[in-house]
């Protein structure tokens, strides 16, 4: 079942006798899917065009697919803001540290859960799975983190979401699919559990660990709310919170009604576009390479439930 993703599709027999109706359908289908692609990509193109345009043209509502009045002023402005780079570095640090912690904890627990002979295994699985459907909620979590003294420290960002139960189940499924003979042989040779995990199991699990690293890294890279909630000082923010404050400032000004300084708001609009582009860029750059690992990871988890 695990190899599901690589299996070729069971092809529907395509007789030569395609009806006229089916040929019409093929054309319509092509049009619909093209529309899906356009609708998905359009916002990206639009944002890039806005980020490269000058403000006068944006205000005039002329910027759509192509930059109007091409200039890089806004890029220079954003990249010359030291806080932007501080926050960008924070994102990288948080992502690396959080992913490392997550991988260690998830791997250990998933390995334990994958041992069918272990007494109390059902309870250990239950403890994890129950948290998928019931959680303490925002306020008790906040109270806990505060009273642990973790506010305004990196730990508030990297620890509270260290184990994702879905990822845990994916890993557990993978460990269960490994042949037990190797581990048994290693045990006979006198290797203890830690040795088996480190020297036998992990080298066989490089692919799944890579997938898990990607799962966690992308989710930590994208997260903002934990940081927003627990960090009060600007120099601790990840770049997502930097962007959030930028857009929140803009709506605040607009919803206040009488906008005194229209230029400032518009400048902010260009800056927003630039910040969006710069924050999205790393994801877009690695996306083509990581996408298939994600897909296979999702299916691995789904098949084993």
């Amino acid at each position: 079942m695990v190899t599901l993703g690589t299996k070729r599709a069971a092809r529907r027999p395509r007789g030569p006798r395609d009806t006229r109706g089916y040929r019409v359908f093929q054309v319509v289908n092509g049009i619909i899917l093209t529309a899906v692609v356009i609708v998905t990509l359009y916002p990206f193109v639009n944002i890039v065009a806005r980020s490269l345009s000058d403000e006068a043209n944006i205000i005039a509502g002329k910027v759509n697919l192509l930059p109007q009045g091409f200039n890089l002023t806004a890029y220079k402005l954003v990249t010359s803001d030291p806080m932007f780079w501080t926050n960008y570095r924070n994102t990288v640090v948080y992502t690396v540290v959080a992913t490392a912690i997550s991988i260690v904890l998830t791997t250990c627990y998933a390995y334990v859960l994958s041992k069918p002979q272990l007494k109390g295994r059902g309870a250990l699985v239950g403890i994890a799975v129950f948290t998928m459907f019931f959680s303490g909620g925002l306020i008790p979590n906040y109270v806990l983190i505060t009273s642990l003294g973790m506010k305004n420290s990196i730990w508030a960002v990297v620890i509270p979401n260290a184990i994702n139960v879905f990822n845990l189940l994916v890993m557990k499924a993978f460990f269960e699919s490994l042949p037990t003979e190797l581990e048994e042989a290693a045990a006979v040779d006198g290797l203890n559990t830690y040795g088996i995990l480190l020297r036998i199991v992990l080298p066989l699990s490089k692919a799944i660990i890579a997938t898990m690293v990607l799962f966690y890294a992308v989710s930590f890279w994208n997260s903002w709310f934990t940081a927003f909630l627990y960090l009060d000082r600007q120099e601790l923010f990840p770049v997502t919170v930097y962007l959030r404050n930028l857009i929140a400032g803009a709506t605040g000004a607009q919803s206040a009604g009488g906008v005194a300084d229209a230029d400032a708001v518009q400048a902010a609009a260009t800056l927003q576009a630039v910040t969006i582009v710069l924050t999205t860029l790393p994801i877009l750059t690695v996306y083509p390479f990581i996408q298939r690992y994600f897909v296979s990871g999702v299916m691995l988890g789904a098949v084993k439930g």
């Binding site: 069971a10 692609v37 069918p116 019931f134 709310f225 969006i276």
Partner: protein, 326 residues
């Protein structure tokens, strides 16, 4: 995620089943288990500590919903006040407004974000050119990888007075609309951005399920004179039904927790009448009005409804179609 693969216990696959000598007498004591497997147990200590402290302690922390809480005091509150905070929010008209908003947004999300991936998967399944299919898939997965902040920022840019949508409105002779300041537009904005971000990714499991359908079934259906449409109806859809049911249950489980983060980013006081949901309301109660116990009571209410919804959906689906999560 089909019932077939979920049902059997973890040893369901033939390969990893331990050979006979491995099977020991069933009733082993804990002492013996610990002596034999203590190294395994030791690996579970840190993760267990994580779950107990960061998942189960907050669950217990919900007792502040029944107790007077003082910031800086005990995390379990000071003294009992019984159901005071629950009575408070049941009598609070704003609560019922955000409750209704939650149900409406949850229902709309379910209505669009559940079936659309199925439709897209079926359409993709009919594409004959492999490359084209893969290209459409890759593009449609992309939004899933974006931070919710980026999605919200994009929505704001597109809907700004000078944004793309208003350009279209003006081109067709209308006047610009400040969409994000209009309560009547919020639901449309929320649901369509949700569709934009989730539909492509949602097709993955269906496409996987589609590959497992036996080709002979289509052959048989064709011989029986079924056209493409009837083949889809009688073979394809029943083939992916377990996946549909499982995802439906999971969707229902997140029904109450409708996109808290996105709403927090996109709403403003002008759109509260339609945008404010339970989670955002309790966020403001907790962090803007510093009424922690009141907010915790609302949160507990929401979490319990969520749990009841999952359990009910699971039970119903087990009784009626024989598919369940556990």
């Amino acid at each position: 995620m089909t019932s077939e693969t979920l049902r059997p216990p973890e040893t369901g696959e033939p390969a990893p089943v331990a050979p006979a000598p491995r099977v020991r007498p069933r009733r082993r004591g804990w002492r013996q288990a610990v002596r034999r497997d203590w190294q395994l147990y030791s690996l579970a200590v840190l993760p267990l500590l994580f779950f107990l402290v960061f998942r189960y302690l907050p669950m217990l922390g919900n007792v502040i919903a029944f107790r007077r809480f003082q910031p800086g005091g005990s995390i379990f509150g000071e003294y009992w006040v019984g159901l005071r905070y629950f009575r408070m929010f049941f009598a609070d008209p704003t609560f019922w407004q955000v409750f209704t908003n939650t149900l409406v947004l949850g229902a709309l999300t379910l209505l669009f974000c559940f079936p659309l991936p199925i439709v897209l998967a079926l359409l993709l399944n009919e594409v004959r050119t492999r490359k084209l299919k893969r290209f459409v898939q890759s593009v449609s997965y992309l939004p899933h990888f974006l931070s919710i902040v980026i999605v919200a920022a994009m929505v704001m840019q597109l809907l700004a007075m000078d944004g793309a949508v208003n350009q279209l409105v003006r081109a067709t002779g209308g006047d610009g609309v400040p969409f994000l300041q209009r309560a009547e537009w919020f639901r449309t904005i929320y649901v369509s951005s949700e569709v934009w971000q989730t539909v492509g990714w949602g097709t993955i499991l269906y496409l996987a399920a589609l590959t497992t359908i036996d080709g002979n079934l289509y052959e048989a259906a064709r011989i029986d004179g079924a056209n493409r449409w009837r083949q889809t109806w009688h073979v394809t859809l029943p083939g992916i039904r377990p996946t549909m049911v499982t995802l439906l249950i999971l969707n229902i489980g997140t029904f109450m927790a409708v996109g808290f983060e996105k709403i927090l980013l996109l709403y403003n006081p002008l759109t509260y009448p339609t945008a404010d949901v339970i989670s955002t309301y309790l966020y403001r109660m907790g962090f803007e009005s510093s009424n922690f116990s009141y907010a915790a009571a609302i949160g507990l209410f929401e979490a319990v409804i969520g749990l009841v919804l999952v359990l009910t959906a699971n039970l119903i689906s087990r009784r009626t179609v024989g598919t369940s999560l556990w």
